[in-house]
């Protein structure tokens, strides 16, 4: 799954991620596209707070998360 949050200001990309994670099967991944400078920090922080796996940034403005629970 890819969430296009380009042009959205924080916390909107993290809100979109939180809303969509329920639609991802456990073990599946979602990639968030976001160019707000806070996303690079806040998406990994969300993963830590919500016990999900942050897999890294495969490309600029792109962040991949694996649903762990």
């Amino acid at each position: 799954m890819v969430l296009d949050c380009l042009g959205q200001r924080c916390p909107l990309p993290v809100i979109a991620l939180a809303r969509s994670i329920a639609d991802v099967p456990v073990g599946g991944t979602v990639t968030v596209l976001a160019d707000d400078p806070a996303a690079a920090n806040d998406i990994p922080a969300w993963c830590r707070m919500k016990s999900q796996d942050y897999l890294g940034s495969p490309a600029p403005n792109s962040y991949t998360v694996r649903r762990a629970t």
Binding site: C10, D42, A45, W46
Partner: protein, 374 residues
């Protein structure tokens, strides 16, 4: 609740300021009677502030703001060591006044800046620090005494020892610690800001210890004596020195009182607001400052909602910054930056105010989340 930006003026500061307006308007460098009166006032303020900080009067100078004192410390410290090295070592959580110098310094030919990271609690990575200060060409090392954004007290003594072993002078930005926590030891340069201890705005303090190489970065007569260019706001300087003494007299009891209120906020926020992260070291921290981040919350919206209820707080969220970037401190720690609130207390903060803050906060956060569809 934003004492870390500026605390309300201490009653002693107000009294001293009013008294000094009558006697301190003249230029202390002039030789006629009113000038000599101003000179005596200046020297009394300098001696008093030096005694408060445990340094010699001729090691202490006043500057037009805390930021001006930071600039004088770092730029003057680098200039004084030009022959020894060209590298500025600094923590990743310095005040932006230091980081702006680092960026400019690194952009010039031959010069260099090295940033040392912190852990999740905002505490300096001492191993990386030791390596950085020991490296060839290090001119000056800069470390904030305690994080101005999350309150984590830094291991200044250990950092100072590493710098001393490497023969590198250490600059400590003590703006958040003075009159709240003990002043660290082992440094060569230190600065502070009066309006954070209850003094008037527009007074910074710089201490350059004897034997430290310092050269003025400004066009002045005496390049080797730290002194702000231009006329000082002497009445404000007098008020700053008087309030420093008063604030230090109260510091120990206030630290106990405010630390208990901060513990109350830490427990209250975690207990009543879901999806919240209190950031910074829970123990090795400033007594009066606490920071937390709320998931899915726009920091600017929360700041305005709190303001509507009479609470002044600051935020490290990108939406509240002129640069639209999240706080470099929260980034360096790797903690959530949106929905961020910094609460910092002062001598006028009451338990009832803290309780009212804790009573309104959960509803405001819930409203903002609801509006965002969470």
């Amino acid at each position: 609740m934003d004492a870390a930006t500026a605390a309300p003026m201490h009653p002693v500061a107000r009294e001293a300021l009013l008294a000094a307006l009558d006697d301190g308007w003249a230029d202390p460098d002039r030789l006629y009677a009113s000038g000599r009166r101003a000179r005596r006032l200046f020297e009394a303020a300098q001696s008093s502030a030096a005694e408060s900080l445990g340094v010699r009067p001729d090691e202490l100078s006043f500057w037009p703001s805390g930021t001006a004192a930071v600039h004088a410390a770092v730029l003057g410290g680098l200039a004084g060591r030009e022959r020894a090295g060209r590298t500025l070592v600094h923590s990743a959580i310095e005040h932006s006044a230091v980081l702006h110098i680092a960026v400019r310094h690194a952009a010039t030919r031959h010069d260099n800046a090295v940033e040392v990271g912190v852990d999740r609690l905002g505490r300096l990575d001492l191993d990386a620090w030791r390596a950085a200060v020991t490296a060839d060409g290090t001119a000056l090392a800069s470390l904030i005494s305690a994080s101005h954004e999350v309150g984590t007290v830094q291991p200044v003594d250990a950092a100072a020892e590493a710098a001393r072993e490497a023969g590198v002078p250490l600059y400590v930005d003590a703006a958040q610690s003075v009159a709240h926590a003990p002043i660290p030891t082992g440094w060569s340069l230190l600065s502070a800001s009066a309006h954070k201890w209850g003094g008037p705005p527009g007074v910074g303090v710089l201490v350059v210890r004897k034997g430290t190489r310092w050269r003025s970065p400004y066009p002045v007569d005496d390049l080797y004596r730290p002194q702000a260019p231009g006329a000082l706001g002497l009445p404000a300087v007098v008020a700053a020195a008087a309030s420093l003494r008063a604030a230090l007299d109260e510091a120990a009891s206030e630290a106990v009182r405010l630390s208990a209120l901060v513990d109350r906020i830490r427990a209250g926020v975690t207990g009543t607001v879901p999806d919240v992260e209190v950031v910074g070291d829970p123990v090795q921290r400033l007594p009066h400052l606490v920071t937390f981040s709320c998931l899915y919350v726009d920091g600017e919206a929360l700041l305005h909602a709190l303001d509507g209820h009479g609470f002044a707080v600051s935020s490290g969220s990108s939406c509240t910054a002129s640069t639209l970037r999240p706080s470099h401190v929260l980034e360096a720690m790797g903690v959530l930056s949106h929905g961020n609130v910094r609460v910092s207390l002062h001598r006028d903060t009451t338990e009832a105010e803290v309780d009212r803050f804790l009573a309104v906060l959960p509803g405001l956060v819930a409203d903002i989340r609801k509006e965002a569809g969470m």
